[in-house]
C-alpha cells in the first residue's frame, strides 16, 4: 500500500544539489566532457545504447556522465528519453553479410573466405595494468596492410551450402514484426520477440545464464561459429519519399553460435544455431545472448526443458535491468503503512503467545503444544 507523504521537498532538492556536487567530484580535476566519454569509454557507451535500446552515441555519453558511470542508471535515462520521441517507422532488416568488417573471428574454421581479422580486441592481452595510461603516453599509429576486397560471407552461410546446418526460415514479409515496446510481452513468445527481449537484456544476466548452460544446466554443445563487428547501412522506407532512404551507418556486433545436432526419421542431422546481435561493440553480450537464444529453443528442438536458461518465462521476465532495478529499488520508497501493519501483526502474535503461556502456568505446556 502506498500513501502520499509530504514534507520531503526541501530534503529532496538539497539531495539533488548534493548529487550534482558529488557528480562533479574534486573541482581541481578537469571536468569530463560527453565527447570524451563517447570516444574514450566507447564500450560503456555501446552497452548503454544496447541495453537502453537506442542507438545514439552522444546521448548515451551524456547519460553515462549524468549517471556518474552507473551504466544501468544510464540505460534507464536513455529508455526514458526515447519515450518522449515519435517513431517514424522501422528500417529494412540490416544485412550483416554486407558488413564493413572491423573484426571477424571463427572458432570453427581456420581458413575462411576473408580470413580471421582480430580488429581492436582485449583477447591475447595480458591483463596487466598499463601505467602508461596514467602518464598519458602517445599512442602508436595503427599498422596498415593491403585490403583486398574479398567478400566475407557468414560462416553459417558456408555450412548452409552443404546443408550441414539448419536454415532460418525467411518469414512472411507481410507479417507484422512483434514489438515488446508496443504490446506487453505475451508467452509463449516467438523467436523474433525473444531476440528483441534478449537484445535489450542485461549483459550480466545473459552472461550468467549462458555460462550456466556451459556448466551443464541445459547443455547445448556450443561453438563460436563466428563473431563479427563492423558497420552496416541503415535504410528506412519513408512513405512520403516513395523508396527506402539511406540513414547512415551503425556499428553492430553479431555472434553466430553453432550447436550440436538435431535430426529426425525424415531429416538428416544438422547443426543447430543460436544468435546474438547488439548495437556497438558488445561481444560478451552477443555471446551470452546466442547461448541463451539456443537454450530457449529447447522445446522447439525436442529437448527436455529443466534448466533456468531454457525456461522462457524465467529468462524473458527477468532479463530487463531497467524493469528489474525499478522493482528492486522501489523497496527504498516509503512503505511506512505496510510496515506498520506488519508491526501490528507481529505484536499481536507475540501477545497471544504470551497470554497462552501465562494461562498454562510455569510448565509451558501450551507453548509446547503450539510448537507442535
Amino acid at each position: 500500500m502506498y500513501v502520499a507523504v509530504k514534507g520531503g521537498e526541501r530534503a529532496i532538492d538539497n539531495a539533488h544539489r548534493l548529487l550534482a556536487h558529488a557528480r562533479r567530484g574534486d573541482p581541481a580535476v578537469p571536468e569530463v566532457a560527453p565527447a570524451q566519454i563517447r570516444e574514450q569509454l566507447a564500450l560503456a557507451v555501446d552497452r548503454v545504447m544496447t541495453e537502453g535500446s537506442l542507438y545514439d552515441r552522444d546521448l548515451a555519453a551524456i547519460a553515462i556522465k549524468q549517471a556518474r558511470g552507473d551504466l544501468v542508471e544510464a540505460a534507464f535515462l536513455v529508455r526514458a528519453f526515447r519515450t518522449t520521441l515519435p517513431r517514424f517507422g522501422a528500417t529494412q532488416p540490416i544485412d550483416t553479410a554486407a558488413m564493413q568488417v572491423a573484426r571477424r573471428v571463427s572458432a570453427t574454421f581456420k581458413d575462411i573466405p576473408g580470413g580471421q581479422v582480430l580488429g581492436p580486441t582485449f583477447d591475447y592481452t595480458h591483463r596487466l595494468i598499463d601505467f602508461l595510461l596514467e602518464a598519458g603516453a602517445e599512442v602508436d599509429e595503427p599498422a596498415r596492410a593491403a585490403a583486398d576486397p574479398v567478400p566475407m560471407p557468414r560462416i553459417t552461410d558456408l555450412l548452409g551450402h552443404d546443408d550441414l546446418i539448419e536454415r532460418n526460415p525467411p518469414g512472411d514479409p507481410d507479417a507484422p514484426v512483434p514489438d515488446l515496446t508496443r504490446e506487453p510481452l505475451d508467452l509463449p513468445a516467438g523467436r523474433d520477440l525473444r531476440l528483441q527481449n534478449l537484445a535489450r537484456g542485461d549483459e550480466g544476466f545473459l552472461l550468467a545464464l549462458g555460462y550456466s548452460t556451459q556448466r551443464g544446466f541445459g547443455r547445448t554443445h556450443p561453438f563460436a561459429g563466428e563473431i563479427r563487428l563492423g558497420e552496416v547501412e541503415l535504410e528506412f522506407l519513408a512513405e512520403d519519399v516513395g523508396f527506402a532512404v539511406p540513414l547512415g551507418e551503425i556499428t553492430v556486433t553479431e555472434c553466430q553460435m553453432v550447436n550440436q545436432f538435431k535430426g529426425s526419421a525424415t531429416e538428416p542431422p544438422r547443426f543447430t544455431r543460436g544468435y546474438g546481435l547488439a548495437f556497438g561493440h558488445c561481444e560478451r553480450k552477443t555471446m551470452g545472448m546466442a547461448l541463451v537464444d539456443r537454450a530457449l529453443r529447447a522445446g522447439e528442438l525436442g529437448e527436455e526443458v529443466k534448466a533456468p536458461a531454457q525456461d522462457e518465462e524465467f529468462v524473458l521476465m527477468h532479463s530487463d535491468n531497467v524493469q528489474a532495478t525499478g522493482f528492486v529499488e522501489h523497496l527504498k520508497l516509503p512503505h511506512y503503512v505496510d510496515f506498520q501493519a506488519e508491526l501490528g501483526l507481529i505484536r499481536q502474535m507475540r501477545a497471544e503467545i504470551a497470554a497462552r503461556a501465562a494461562a498454562a502456568g510455569p510448565d509451558g505446556a501450551v507453548l509446547k503444544e503450539a510448537a507442535e
Binding site: 546521448l59 515519435p86 517514424f88 550483416t96 580470413g115 585490403a147 553459417t156 519513408a238
Partner: protein
C-alpha cells in the same frame, strides 16, 4: 508529399547514392548548400527528431526482428519550381536534416545538380579515404596461419 514516385529506378539509385553521401557528411561540410539555394526555399516539414526501429534478422538471414531504436532527424523543403527534397539523418542534428533535405531538392533540380555534386565531391573523397584506412587497419590484424614443420620421426 508523394512526389517523385514515378521516376525511373536508375534515377532513384543515383538520388539514393547522393543521400547516402549527405548522411555521412558533417553539418559544416553541407553549410554551403544555403548559398546554392538562395532564399526562395520553402520549409515543408520543420526538422523533427524521432526514432526508427532498427531491424535485424534471426540468425542474420531469417525472419526480421526488432533490435532496438535509433534517433533520426527528418525535414522536407521545396524549391520555387515545386521540387521537393527530403532529409533523413541518424542522430539529433536538426540543421543537418534541413541541409540534407535541401541537398536532395537541389540535386533533383537540373540547374543546381552540378553545384551539389561539386560540394559533395570532397565529402565523398573524405569518406572513401576513411573507409580505405579502416579497411587497411583491419587487414593488418588478419591472421596468417602457418603450420609448424613436423619431423618424420
Amino acid at each position: 508529399m508523394t512526389a517523385n514516385a514515378d521516376v525511373p529506378d536508375s534515377s532513384v539509385n543515383a538520388r539514393k547514392t547522393t543521400m547516402a553521401a549527405v548522411c555521412r557528411a558533417t553539418t559544416t561540410e553541407l553549410a554551403g548548400l544555403d548559398a546554392i539555394a538562395g532564399d526562395a526555399v520553402r520549409v515543408l516539414r520543420a526538422p523533427e527528431i524521432g526514432l526508427v526501429m532498427v531491424r535485424g534478422r534471426v540468425g542474420g538471414d531469417g525472419a526480421p526482428f526488432n533490435l532496438g531504436e535509433a534517433t533520426v532527424t527528418r525535414a522536407a523543403v521545396s524549391l520555387p519550381d515545386g521540387v521537393i527534397g527530403f532529409g533523413h539523418v541518424l542522430g539529433r542534428d536538426k540543421d543537418k536534416a534541413r541541409l540534407a533535405a535541401l541537398a536532395d531538392a537541389l540535386w533533383q533540380a537540373p540547374a543546381t545538380r552540378d553545384a551539389v555534386e561539386a560540394l559533395l565531391r570532397p565529402v565523398r573523397e573524405r569518406i572513401a579515404a576513411e573507409t580505405a584506412l579502416k579497411r587497411e587497419r583491419a587487414a593488418a590484424t588478419r591472421v596468417d596461419f602457418f603450420t609448424m614443420v613436423r619431423g618424420d620421426n
